[in-house]
């Protein structure tokens, strides 16, 4: 099928996704109209809400950052043939790691040491939370889908316990820790802009975005330019052949899950070090689950993940502005739109492929005929 329906590359990556996206928005618009809302007004509000001002762009990019981390995490694991549903839990642990550094170790350290330390802790904590199911899969045969789901629940329980009984701010009535020391706060975008003499709206967007882009680049290099990545992909594609090539599928499984967990753990850096500045319940906000969709829509490629993250970041932010400005539209409608987008761009992406391919084939053959007769 794919061979019969080859499309020019620019259609493949430029036109087809746009058509699919449009289809999702049309269906959403129909639902909206049926519910008595003006879909064009809503779309306009969403777009300006996501990109219309420096302020909204800041939020969009801030959400994007989270999705980049979880999307990369899921993508990395799936290159090793593993379906990591546990990014949510790994992110929670990452936040815990970062917060512990910020609460316990870092006071007194210079930021230049404290920040990397906290980021490292986020990666290590998340990595361990990923490596456990990885190990169970590799050496005990426990299916990683189940174990990562279980690890999500365990992470939730652990975090609640810690926040209620151990880390809770002294005298506080809210399950959140006291502020982490300021030397581990990641510089926010508006602060960086300020130091450059620019004025930017205050948003939670922070240095983590760069970290995310850096991770995407790093993952790209790792997967396609290193022997580790080569081995990891070999295991994911064909474990028998990998073993034949002297690559240990078990070890690669653990490694992939550990790295995947570490990436997911970086949500903790964005949220705890960059935005919340304290450990709070629920800071992962479902980003781990959306990361699955992000990775799949991004075709498990780092660049694809970045683009999909931006799309989802815009939806999150635009959706929240929409909910604020159009009474009667709630966030749930935006969730529905997300679902439709994933459906049309991911699962039903081939709906418009065949008609398009036919179009191009027809165009090509007429061109061939023309040149053919000219030549003959």
């Amino acid at each position: 099928m794919s061979r019969n329906q080859s499309l020019p590359w620019w259609v493949e990556i430029g036109v087809l996704p746009v058509i699919n996206l449009a289809a999702a928005f049309i269906v959403s618009g129909l639902v909206m109209a049926a519910l008595g809302h003006d879909p064009f007004e809503a779309l306009g509000l969403m777009v300006t809400g996501a990109f219309g001002s420096a302020d909204s762009l800041g939020y969009t990019l801030y959400y994007t950052t989270n999705f980049i981390f979880t999307g990369l995490a899921v993508a990395l694991a799936s290159h090793a043939g593993l379906f990591n549903i546990g990014a949510e839990g790994q992110a929670m642990l990452g936040g815990l790691g970062a917060a512990l550094v910020g609460l316990v170790i870092s006071p007194g350290l210079p930021g230049i040491i404290a920040i990397p330390l906290a980021i490292l802790a986020a990666m290590i904590f998340g990595g361990i939370w990923g490596a456990i199911p990885g190990w169970l899969q590799a050496y005990r045969g426990s299916h990683v889908v189940i174990t990562t789901i279980m690890m999500n629940f365990l992470a939730g329980a652990l975090l609640t316990y810690l926040l209620v009984d151990v880390l809770i701010a002294p005298g506080g009535g809210t399950p959140e820790s006291r502020s982490i020391s300021e030397n581990v706060w990641l510089p926010a975008a508006h602060q960086i802009a300020q130091s450059l003499g620019l004025e930017l709206a205050q948003t939670p967007l922070n240095l983590s975005l760069l970290l995310g882009l850096f991770c995407a680049l790093g993952l790209n290099i790792f997967l396609w330019r290193t022997r580790w990545g080569f081995s990891l992909r070999a295991v994911g594609l064909n474990p028998h052949a990998a073993l034949y090539a002297g690559i240990s599928p078990s070890r690669m499984t653990v490694l992939a899950m550990a790295l995947s967990g570490a990436l997911a753990g970086l949500v903790g850096a964005n949220e705890i070090l960059g935005a919340q500045h304290r450990l709070v319940l629920g800071f992962t906000g479902g980003y781990g689950f959306v990361g699955i969709a992000v990775a799949l829509m991004g075709r498990n490629r780092p660049t694809g993940v970045i683009i999909a993250s931006l799309l989802f970041g815009a939806l999150y932010q635009g959706g929240s502005e929409l909910a604020l400005d159009m009474p009667g539209i709630s966030r749930d409608l935006v969730v529905m739109i997300q679902g439709l987008i994933i459906l049309f761009c991911g699962a039903l992406e081939n709906i418009f492929r065949s008609p398009l391919a036919r179009l191009f084939a027809a165009a090509r053959s007429t061109r061939a005929e023309l040149t053919g007769t000219a030549g003959g």
């Binding site: 099928m1 794919s2 061979r3 019969n4 639902v31 519910l35 008595g36 379906f83 549903i85 169970l136 005990r140 045969g141 426990s142 299916h143 889908v145 189940i146 174990t147 789901i149 279980m150 690890m151 629940f153 365990l154 329980a157 652990l158 609640t160 316990y161 209620v164 009984d165 689950f289 699955i292 969709a293 799949l296 829509m297 709630s330 749930d332 409608l333 935006v334 969730v335 529905m336 739109i337 997300q338 679902g339 439709l340 994933i342 459906l343 991911g346 699962a347 039903l348 992406e349 081939n350 709906i351």
Partner: protein
Amino acid sequence: MDDFITVSLALAAGSLRLAIPLMLGALGGLFSERAGIVDVGIEGKMLISAFASAAVAHATNSPWAGLAAGLGAGIVFALIHGVGAIAFRGNQVVSGMALNILAAGLTVTIAAALYSQGGRTPQLPDAARFRGTSFAAADGTSQLDPALRALFELVAGHNILVYLSLVLVPALVWLVHKTRFGLRLRAVGENPEAVDTAGIQVATLRYQASIISGLLCGLAGTYIAIAQSASFVPNMTAGKGYLALAALIFGKWRIWPTFFACLLFAFADAAQSRLQGLNIPGIGAIPVQFIQALPYVLTLVLLAGLVGRAIPPKASGVPYVKER
């Protein structure tokens, strides 16, 4: 001793009640995956059915109409997944996730528009639900020995959907293992080429499996909304679809083991709530969160210790493409 019996019986009844939706969802997933279509969308199918059944039961005041709507909604969602996976050869995991997210948004949006109760449906009157007999409430039985009452509760106290589901399990085993359809179903999930060259339509078979999956997940959602509860509440499946998927894998894609995996999960869950507030002499009160984590720890330990490698149906997740 008497007390112990009472508690055990009540625990068994609770486990059964909690196991039913898991089991139906897991069996729904089983049909889909045995046919070669990965089913991450159990949660979504359950949720949309929960909403449809509650809304229709409310409108018609009939639980049976609600059931029909629930099943219908399950089938519609299953077919969206089916069309994506079978006709358009899309990524099945993406499709499943899309269903979950779509259901979460769609149900609340429609419910909010229809009822203005924050995405809930109105409370159902008793006549519009599937109800069991509560022996704790029945006047004649209040004098009864508590153990006896608990026994009644366990054996006869459930609503009709529970019994229906329990009958369904052996019926499905028969369907999968003793019939032509079952043979073909199992074959198409392992090697669709074998089915195709044997003169059977792969797509038709897979659509049939999708519909059964939709029916079962629909039944699960209906049970949650109008038997176990009395209204739809946003996101009321609360992750049961994922747990069902876990049970399905735990049960290695086989019906009875999956059924027992669901019972185990449900038992751990039911036991968990009874253990809260437990005091261990010398250690003191166990934090609630640790007890709540118990079912999950238990699953991990069992998986790591007892259950061997789970091998999914070979063709699941791979679209069937003849010309490569």
